[in-house]
């Protein structure tokens, strides 16, 4: 009975959502009827005023006079804190927007961050859009297709400050993703390929104990995994250690087979260019088969947890935390989770990151993919599209000059920078810069130039060096020898990075077949690692192509031709 009530509840909720959509679409229709041809009028208007008084208007930091109202929407969670008397309606950033730019922020609604997308869906369905707002990739494409977004090309050309321009132009791919049909319809999210690139993590106190060299090739990795399994690195006299961490998701930050496959020059789950310049899907290439064969061999040799196939990432992490595994491939944040947990339990433990080693004499590249999922857009018909550019300029000026971090960044654990709009937009050096600045500060002994964020990490690293174990994770992400020192040196400077060449919205067949094809891929890869015959891979490739893969490949290449 209870279960019935529950399913009824879910259905009801779904139906309610649909209902809201129904009512509101009606409104939308009305609005369009009331005001026929509103969009052409709106696009002509700014052009007219601009041509009338060009000199006045073209100032990247010019103040609107009289002030303009700007409807926005916000999301919040437990990390958002306010000083006494401040709120989303009244804080340093809102004051900066109104005092310096003449933009009065009006919050239409504020929701919990995890409900933002749904609430935005409801607003879109209701046709009740804010003036400037953030959408995800699917919403962006739907709004763009329906012609509900303002073209920002002209405002961007006229009003972007040199710094803003640099930040956007740095991320050419991001800019391309925000451009549809030659129109710049959004300010894209930061293009940070480096944050997602996999690293090799090895427990170096075990290396020292067993007298093994640091890994430089994949052969070294195999030797280390073998030794960690059979030579009792934890000295307890039991054969209870393993060589490589895996989880049932296989992919996903921790632990992640992507890095392992990259060592074989295989690039799973992303689109790469083949010799003829065509885009092909990485998971179905012969290199992936070779990597899977090796994983199968390691599984048979008892170097991989026999039960990895049922454990998700956080469950799988328990083995490393308990000191049973000393090697995995994973993301830059792994020191914070789960390795810090191991460090807390075994203070003598130490882990270091390494760039992806290679199986042969060809250099191995780490792969990285960005699914552009954040776009700041302007509602079609909003009279002042340049407002979004000006706000972006102002953000960059304040952050770029580290202007009054105690007002705009953070103080006493309250993070003021969260109140600013257009967060995570535009590309600087990203977190590689943070690591560099911190290293510089240690070299010169002068921490005064660090931004509030950087200072926070710096202080933790200082505390770690003074013996505070809890700062170890931060040290390994941003310190002298850290995720970002490896990423900066090998992936950024030496360009050992292969990126996903497809960055458009999901194609039609992708949308239709993604669930099926992903299931097929994950199921096959897992079975092969667990010992299925290698012919399964060839069967997977054939099935993948037949079940829509060929169609997707064609669509992706069509997209490529338009770029």
């Amino acid at each position: 009975m209870k279960r019935m009530a529950k399913s009824a509840g879910i259905t009801l909720a779904a139906l309610m959502m649909v209902m809201t959509a129904a009512c509101s679409t009606a409104n939308n229709g009305n609005k369009a009827n009331e005001n026929p041809g509103s969009s052409p009028a709106a696009t002509e208007n700014p052009a007219a005023t601009e041509s009338a008084a060009p000199e006045e208007t073209i100032d990247p930091f010019g103040k609107f006079d009289p002030p303009v109202k700007l409807n926005v929407v916000r999301n919040t969670d437990s990390t958002f804190k306010f000083k006494e008397g401040e709120s989303f309606d009244n804080n340093a950033w809102n004051s900066a927007y109104s005092d310096q730019l003449g933009i009065e922020i009006v919050n239409k609604w504020i929701v919990q961050s995890d409900q933002y997308d749904q609430k935005m869906n409801a607003s879109i369905a209701a046709g009740d859009l804010p003036d400037i707002f953030r959408v995800n990739a699917v919403q962006f494409k739907q709004l763009a297709d329906a012609g509900q977004l303002e073209d920002l090309s002209e405002a961007y050309e006229k009003y972007a400050s040199p710094l803003s321009r640099e930040l956007i132009e740095n991320g050419q791919v991001a800019k391309a993703a925000a451009t549809i049909g030659g129109q710049l319809l959004a300010l894209p999210q930061a293009q940070d390929y480096y944050g997602g690139a996999p690293l090799l993590w090895v427990r170096t106190d075990w290396l020292t104990k067993l007298g093994l060299p640091e890994p430089e090739t994949m052969q070294d990795v195999f030797a280390i995994a073998e030794a960690f399994t059979n030579q009792d690195p934890d000295d307890n006299g039991k054969a209870d250690t393993l060589g490589l961490a895996l989880s049932k998701e296989l992919f996903g930050g921790y632990p992640d087979v992507t890095g392992f496959m990259n060592g074989f020059h295989a690039y799973p789950k992303i689109w790469i260019k083949d010799d003829s310049g065509k885009l092909v899907y990485g998971s179905i290439q012969p290199e992936a088969k070779a990597a899977l064969a090796k994983l199968q061999e390691m599984f048979k040799a008892g170097q991989i947890d026999k039960e990895f196939g049922v454990k998700d990432g956080s469950k799988a992490s328990e083995l490393e935390v308990d000191g049973k595994i000393g090697l995995h491939f994973g993301a830059m944040w792994n020191p914070l989770f789960p390795l810090q947990g191991n460090k807390d339990k075994e203070p003598q433990a130490d882990w270091k990151p390494y760039p992806i080693p290679s199986i042969d004499d060809k250099q191995a590249n780490a792969q990285s993919s960005l699914d552009y999922n954040q776009f700041w857009v302007v509602r079609k018909g909003y009279e002042h599209p340049e407002a979004v550019i000006k706000m972006f300029n102002l953000n960059n000026k304040i952050f770029g000059d580290s202007e009054e971090p105690e007002v705009y960044h953070s103080k006493d654990g309250v993070e003021f920078h969260k109140y600013s709009l257009l967060g995570n937009t535009g590309t600087g050096e990203g977190l590689i810069g943070v690591q560099k600045h911190i290293a510089d500060a240690f070299a010169s002994g002068d921490a005064s130039k660090l931004t509030g964020e950087e200072k926070g990490y710096y202080d933790k690293i200082v505390a770690h060096e003074a013996g505070d174990n809890s700062g170890w994770g931060t040290d390994r992400v941003f310190g002298k020898l850290s995720s970002y020192s490896v990423i900066g040196q090998y992936y950024h400077q030496d360009k050992r990075l292969t990126v996903n060449e497809y960055f458009g919205a999901p194609t039609e067949t992708m949308g239709d077949r993604k669930a099926t094809l992903e299931k097929l891929e994950l199921e096959t890869f897992t079975k092969i690692i667990l010992g299925a015959p290698m012919e399964e891979f060839d069967k997977f490739v054939a099935d993948w192509k037949k079940l829509g893969g060929d169609q997707i490949t064609a669509e992706v290449n069509e997209w490529l031709a338009t770029k």
Binding site: M1, K2, R3, M4, S7, T11, L12, A14, L15, M16, M17, V18, M19, A21, A22, S24, T25, A26, N28, G29, N121, I124, A125, V138, Q139, Q142, L143, D145, A146, Q148, K248, L250, K306, E307, G309, V310, K311, K315, P506, G511, D512, K514, A515, T516, E518, K519, L522, E523, F525, T526, K527, L530, L547
Partner: protein
């Protein structure tokens, strides 16, 4: 006469009004939204703007490879759960009813009822540990009687049964309460009469207790038949893995990956509508059967 009745009942009609309104607005009104199952639905275009594509969404779902396997898994798992979920609590309620010492009865009742309050997220993690073939307590005990370790969560032959077992373990205490309540409503004089006729405990159970519980048993089975396509999303989602997709992937997890992860609302609605239609069918049939066979009406 009629006039008089009407005016006397008016306040009652008014009192039921708000509830009726809520039901109409929130239960019946949204049914209209099912129309998106027949559309190429886009949230921007909305219900009235989206293109009408007839049964294409249904055709699409059923053309996907694996859909039939998924439905097969769902029906098998759900059906076993329905049967086990009826037998276990009824048996438990009958046994508990025989216990004379009140404190033991209450104690057992509370203990078996507790797992109901644990969420599957927590239980999922616990089950992975206790069912582990290398270190789990279950396999260690099986080892004592000479059975080789079984990888319950990773073995396609065991996985569906594990789902049923763990679900029954979690929920049977809760359902037992319903049957215990039904037992208290049986007239004690019937037992006295049975004793006079020379019936022992077993005969009393068979001829007094069970017939007394029959209406509630029929009610519960009729309602649970509506779940024939609900194999339990929370549970499967937290326990399954690519290793056991073959035997454990059910409609709900499939729709979750299709509809929510990939944002194909129309397809998810079509699948949901299919589920509802099948459920309505089963509930109607069982209602009819209950009426014909047991002469019992729920409504």
């Amino acid at each position: 006469m009629v006039e008089k009745n009407w005016s006397r009942q008016l306040p009652l009609h008014l009192m039921v009004m708000p509830a009726l309104l809520l039901v109409l607005v929130f239960s019946y009104g949204p049914i209209a939204g099912l129309v998106i199952a027949f559309q190429k639905y886009s949230i921007v275009k909305g219900i009235f703007g989206s293109e009408w594509i007839g049964f294409d969404n249904f055709r699409y779902v059923f053309s996907l490879p694996g859909t039939l396997d998924v439905i097969g898994n769902t029906v098998l798992i759900a059906f076993m759960k329905i049967v086990a979920g009826l037998i276990a609590p009824i048996a438990t309620a009958l046994l508990l009813n025989e216990i004379r010492i009140e404190s033991i009865k209450r104690g057992v009742q509370t203990l078996i009822y507790l797992p109901h309050f644990l969420s599957w997220i927590i239980l999922g993690s616990i089950l992975i540990d206790i069912l582990s073939p290398s270190s789990g307590i279950v396999n260690q005990m099986l080892g004592l009687i000479g059975i080789k370790p079984i990888f319950f969560l990773g073995d396609n032959q065991w996985f569906p049964y594990l789902l049923v077992l763990s679900d029954v373990w979690k929920e049977f205490g809760f359902s037992t309460i319903v049957y215990l309540a039904a037992l208290t409503s049986i007239n004690p004089t019937l037992y006295e009469a049975a004793v006079v006729d020379g019936a022992g405990r077993w005969k009393q159970t068979l001829h007094v207790t069970l017939p007394g519980m029959l209406p509630i048993i029929i009610l519960m089975s009729t309602l649970s038949l509506g779940n024939v396509l609900n194999a339990g999303f929370d549970q499967v989602f937290n326990l399954y893995s690519p290793q056991v997709y073959e035997s454990g992937d059910i409609i709900d997890t499939f729709v979750y990956r299709l509809g929510l992860v990939d944002a194909q609302y129309a397809v998810a609605t079509a699948m949901g509508m299919f589920k509802s239609a099948v459920s309505v069918l089963f509930v109607s049939v069982s209602y009819y059967l209950a009426y014909r066979l047991a002469n019992y009406r729920i409504f």
